[in-house]
Symmetry: D2
Subunit: 161 residues, 4 copies
């Protein structure tokens, strides 16, 4: 299996489907784009994930969350990441490697999603808060993908209208 | 008058008071900090504006908005900035010079404020949309100051509890 | 004339040719890519400039430099920008709107060029230092374009080898 | 032991002393600051490391490098990180959580150090290239600390002269 498909599979194993992310992106853009089709949104979510920057960021985020969940590393940092304290910000920074390459529309939407936590993002956050799974990095990654797909739609729309 | 005081004065001349920004920051942080006092919030807003990075960013933003409003430069870019099209993102990037030095809490709050546009931010945005004044850069600057003050409060709170 | 061509023309009026930028990019990448052709480098410089983010950043940078050179705005900020003091960093931040969308190779090369100032970058810097022209924003823009083209070459090379 | 001291200790266990980082910072700033004292440089290196953002970033970087070195996670991402391919950029992004809070002087110096790799940075890079240890994230962290200390010195110098 190539890296893209194994990345999609790993996200699914964490309970995250393309459809879940596309729903969030759809809600971000529906008031800006007439006749927005969910199929088009899904395509752009896939286009975001296909990028090398995204695959690298997703797989690195999953590595960290898994190591922390299994307590395979230094106790201090495992506890800090697992608790996802407000002042731990490396998770947001890592997600920027996806967000930055998609421009400033991606950046503001990322911040918005990270605060509002719609749909699957809230579910991931709750899994982390209730210590069922470590999702400290993963929820920011989902925010980043959804926000970046929104930016792609905005750019695409501008070109065609 | 020193640079800090003349910066505060210039903001006031644009209809922006410390109180307006502090209100936005207060709303961002009130659910996280018990007994949050508006006086403490104002202090942190002032601490943000006092930083050299902030003064430089504020004065540069005001320069651009004023030049565009008076049409003193190249027509193409004046029109792009004045229209503040969705795909013009230099205003958000410039505001990052304030946001970045205040860490990732500032960054996510910045994105949130830029989408939701509470209080004075909406008023500034409307002045721009209705072509009464050019506020393309100024509204992002206010988002950046409010978001950065929120981050300072979060850090301060962590230290004292 | 469309925006891309008028942007190229404005750069030429400031004494900056595609060839000048391509030379800098060539030197950054020649040790990583076998048989690197200057024609290919020029193509990628053009691809960088064509992006909406780049055109917006270039035209905004030119607007600021020109207004400062002609002293058309607030004296305080005109002096700060004209002197390009070490602690004025809005110019580097603005250039990030080009750099960020090209990933982390662009980012490190940008920092490197900003310190080492090869070729046309040094010439622009000298024009500014000697108060012949205000080039505070323009030299960072050239660093950003050259660094981003280097990143595009690195990505392209990886795909074809 | 508190987090700061255990972070310093962990860096020493990887062969990185405050002195090694201070040497790099000293070389960055010596031509800008008269009578620069190495003791003052060391102080600022320590001030950078003391920040919560730095401690979080350092410990997270060490976690990733160690997990990859011991092959404790998904094979695909361990190989990508261990090889530190040119197009893997999450290491530079993670280091930005230190760099960003220190402003644009830190940013450009970071890019410069990442390209030139003086002193201990080169040693770390060689350990990685020769597969003796995984140092993919650690070398960027050292660049970030040295560059941020340089920025602190520049700001301090401006205030006192």
């Amino acid at each position: 299996m190539d890296l893209f498909n194994s990345t999609i599979l790993k996200l699914e194993q964490k309970g995250i489907k393309i459809d879940d992310i596309a729903e969030i992106t759809f809600d971000l853009q529906k008031s800006y784009i007439n006749d927005l089709k969910i199929e088009h949104v899904k395509e752009e979510v896939i286009n975001v994930i296909k990028k090398r920057e995204s695959i690298n960021a997703i797989l690195t985020a999953l590595l960290i969350d898994e190591v922390v969940e299994k307590n395979l590393a230094d106790k201090d940092i495992c506890k800090i990441i697992s608790d996802d304290e407000g002042l731990y910000g490396v998770d947001e920074i890592l997600a920027l490697s996806i967000v930055n390459v998609h421009g400033s529309i991606a950046l503001t939407n990322f911040g918005y999603l990270d605060k509002v936590k719609p749909g699957i993002i809230k579910k991931l956050d709750d899994l982390g808060k209730n210590k069922i799974h470590c999702t400290t990095f993963l929820d920011d990654i989902v925010c980043a993908i959804a926000a970046s797909a929104a930016s792609r739609l905005a750019h695409y729309n501008k070109k065609t209208t």
